[in-house]
């Protein structure tokens, strides 16, 4: 698999660790692993081990954020590698969802 997703849940807070690439071949598994979450009031997507994201991956992330927001779930994306964050920026995600949602990995 090009992407591994590990889900950890504690006190109604879910942390999803992504390891791999987010593109057309993996977006379905991201969607599935998020859809599985129930009775959660906070979701953290950990991008520490994400090596590549393209606009298809970003499209799915934005869909997920929109859905979680509409359900009143707080969502953040953490440890985004700078190269990956560049794509987030080009496609205007921080502008839409707010700068606070995205946290860049410290070099």
């Amino acid at each position: 698999m090009l992407l591994k997703v590990k889900t950890k849940i504690a006190n109604e807070v879910a942390t999803l660790h992504f390891d791999g690439v987010l593109d057309i071949s993996t977006v379905e598994s991201i969607q599935t692993s998020v859809n599985k979450l129930i009775d959660i009031h906070e979701v953290n997507l950990d991008f520490d081990k994400v090596t590549f994201v393209d606009s298809t991956g970003i499209g799915t992330i934005s869909k997920i954020l929109r859905k979680l927001n509409s359900e009143g779930v707080t969502a953040t994306i953490r440890n985004i590698p700078p190269g990956v964050f560049e794509v987030f920026e080009i496609l205007g995600l921080p502008e839409i969802f707010g700068e606070k949602v995205f946290q860049i990995k410290n070099a």
Binding site: L2, V21, D23, I24, S25, F52, D54, S55, T56, G59, S62, G83, V87, I90, L91, G92, L93, E95, I96
Partner: protein, 448 residues
């Protein structure tokens, strides 16, 4: 000889005569062959019936000859179903029936001394509703029995009979005592299942033959007419077809010619329209091409088909990959990574190129079923070409695709193009109904 040439002259006299003659010949030939086949089929059907009648008569005769007339006669004075005589004859009939699966029922009857009445004597059947000795036998096949009585010879029923147990044919044969007197009659009913099936099969064949013959007749007639009118179709529009005056097809020819003229004019008008819309399209294309080119400062080039060819052939192919499955997008990325690393591009530049390739290959997966990506080495750097056989892009959506980034705009399709436009040094795009061709140049030095 003289007669033959006269006949030939008559035959070639006019189209109508020729056609009538031909059609008549065809029809009679077909009719003859159908009638012949019918004769063959029905002849066989009668043959089957005859064979069947003979068989059932023989069965009845054999059964009758096995029955002792004396014993049978004794049942007249002692009508007892438990008597030794009754049992003996019944057993005999049962064995007879068991040995011939097509016998439906077998029993003996006899004529009473008074009136023209008949009664059952012994029935092979010993189930609940069998015919008991002394039961009244209704003579349906009276003719047969009369006949049989007069001649004292076995005989078959003329026709098949049908009751609740199926269709059968009956055979009758006299039981005689030692003096040669008829003391009773054996009746055998034989099922006619096989025969009925056979007859139905033959009937179907007859129907098929009839339909085939009819089809053949129509086909032949149609062909004769088509052949005769063929010269009409060979005309070269807008020239008129010349038909001899007095010919039967003159009027028809004129109508066809008029129709032809009409169609020809229609076609010319359509062609003019097409030409106009093509020019219109070319004009729009050229405007788009110029605008996009100047807005991107010479970065984005729209191509027509001939130009696409020269772009796709420049330089040498380093590697190639088919884009069919989502997994192929990753393969394409890895390939460009490898090539650019070998060419000593900066890691940032490599990442950007990978992003562009990912977008382009994803478009193939989303909008076309199949595409081929080639990585080529050209003078100033690396060119990646992707060709698919998808439905092509709509020209008027192109500016939005190229210049509007992100999801804040309502146009969600084609944001990949924004990325490609940002990171590739030069872009060539050709799109038509036959597919889309995209080339991206990644130059080692960021200059145009």
């Amino acid at each position: 000889m003289g007669n033959l040439s006269k006949l030939r002259m008559w035959y070639q006299g006019s189209i109508r005569r020729k056609m009538t003659f031909k059609v008549a010949i065809y029809l009679s030939l077909i009719l003859l062959s159908i009638l012949g086949s019918y004769y063959y089929i029905f002849h066989h059907m009668f043959k089957f019936n005859e064979t069947f009648q003979l068989e059932v008569t023989n069965l009845a005769a054999t059964a009758a000859s096995l029955i002792d007339g004396q014993v049978h006669n004794r049942l007249q004075t002692h009508p007892d179903e438990n008597s030794v005589e009754y049992r003996k004859i019944q057993r005999l009939l049962q064995v007879f029936k068991e040995n011939n699966s097509r016998i439906k029922s077998i029993y003996t009857i006899r004529k009473l001394n008074v009136g023209n009445k008949w009664e059952y004597v012994v029935d092979a059947d010993n189930t609940k509703d069998h015919h008991h000795i002394g039961d009244n036998y209704t003579v349906i096949d009276q003719e047969v029995i009369k006949n049989e009585n007069a001649n004292n010879a076995p005989v078959a029923g003329h026709d098949f009979e049908t009751d609740q147990w199926g269709t059968f044919l009956s055979g009758f044969a006299p039981i005689k005592d030692n003096n040669g007197q008829t003391v009773g009659i054996v009746r055998v009913n034989m099922t006619a299942k096989g025969i009925i099936k056979l007859e139905m099969g033959l009937g179907l064949w007859a129907l098929f033959l009839f339909a085939f013959g009819l089809g053949l007749m129509i086909h032949m007639t149609y062909r004769a007419i088509k052949k005769s009118t063929k010269p009409l179709g060979n005309q070269n529009h807008p020239e008129k077809l010349n038909i001899k005056t007095g010919d039967e097809f003159k009027a028809f020819g004129e109508i066809v010619n008029q129709g032809g003229d009409l169609l020809f004019n229609e076609k010319r008008m359509l062609e003019e329209d097409l030409e106009k819309s093509k020019m219109e399209r070319d004009k729009i294309f050229n405007v788009y091409k110029d605008v996009i080119y100047s807005v991107t400062q010479g970065k984005f080039n729209l191509l027509n088909e001939s130009k696409s060819k020269s772009i796709s052939c420049e330089g040498n192919v380093l590697t190639e990959v088919k884009i069919v499955h989502p997994g192929d997008v990753n393969t394409a990325r890895e390939l460009i990574h490898k090539v650019l690393e070998q060419e000593k591009y900066s890691p940032e530049k490599i990442n950007h190129a990978m992003l562009c390739i990912s977008e382009a290959a994803t478009n193939v997966i989303k909008h076309a079923n199949y595409g081929i990506m080639q990585i080529r080495k050209i003078d100033k750097g690396i060119r990646v070409t992707i060709a698919d056989e998808g439905p092509g892009m709509e020209m008027d959506k192109l500016p939005n695709m190229v210049f509007l980034n992100g999801f804040s705009t309502k146009i969600s399709c084609g944001y990949g193009f924004g990325i490609i436009n940002k990171f590739a040094n030069k872009i060539y795009l050709g799109t038509s109904r036959n597919g889309t061709f995209l080339a991206m140049d990644f130059l080692k030095v960021d200059t145009l």
